[in-house]
Amino acid sequence: MMMLSNNLNTYLILGVFLLVAGIYGLIQHKSFIGMLVSTELVLNGAGVNFMAFNRFLAPDPAVGQVITLFIMGIAAAEAAIVVSFILAVFRRYQSIDPNEVKELHG
């Protein structure tokens, strides 16, 4: 158990799992809110990856934490933007299904 929690590959695989779960949800969900949730999962996987490399490989352990905090800030801004976007889309189309919103569809 000590070996597992002190191994770089464990954390990398966890980060990959978060990323893949996010990709799955991004393709499979049929509402903008589900897609937003999946995007948050992808960003979390990136943060876990940065922290793992920071813990095991980096010369200075503050760099990965700084970048992970930047990722959190970007994710918060993105969530605010997307929720207001959902509000605007719902007001116009009365639905949050991405298949309904296709005025620019070729």
């Binding site: 893949v20 937003l36 949730v37 979390n44 980096a58 010369p59 969530a79 976007f85 889309v89």
Partner: protein
């Protein structure tokens, strides 16, 4: 709704991973920002735009979507796992192992000062932009309501004038 609850649990698990990786500060930030702020924003979004009636009618497309999603996700998973396991990671020579918040704050305000200021501007612009996006279209709504009312001819303030 269950999606957001599961997301909160996933965020708590990620906070646990950060704790294992040696950063108490990031654990607290993860719980504070993600579980405390982003999940609330998502619940608000669900409250505004949830329409349960239109979900259940496209089964064939649904299956195709699900198959595509599973296929691409497993492919990406296997490829990335292969990459992770094949590479032998060489650690850099450790200069310091200082995980304290003091060191983190110094890095923020000296080395990454420009990025720090930039992300505050990004957050400000995002907040202003989301307010403008959420407010836009409201006047049109009022106009259509007034149009409907005046077309019906029983606009309630007509008698007062």
């Amino acid at each position: 709704m269950h999606t957001v609850l599961g997301l909160a649990v996933a965020f708590l698990g990620t906070a646990g991973i950060y704790f294992y990786l040696g950063s108490m500060f990031l654990t607290l930030m993860q719980i504070l920002i993600y579980v405390g702020a982003i999940c609330i924003v998502l619940v608000f979004g669900i409250m505004v735009g949830y329409t349960p009636t239109e979900v259940a009618d496209k089964t064939i497309k649904d299956w195709r979507n699900k198959f595509l999603a599973i296929f691409s996700a497993t492919t990406a998973f296997l490829l990335l796992i292969a990459c992770v396991l094949k590479t032998d990671w060489v650690p850099a020579l450790a200069e310091n192992r200082d995980f304290s918040i003091t060191h983190l704050g110094e890095e923020f305000l000296y080395t990454y000062c420009l990025a720090f200021e930039l992300i505050s501007i990004v957050l400000l612009v995002a907040i202003i932009g989301s307010i403008i996006l959420a407010r836009g279209g409201r006047e049109d709504e009022y106009k259509t309501i007034e149009h409907l009312r005046s077309a019906k001819g029983n606009y309630p303030n007509d008698d007062a004038q």
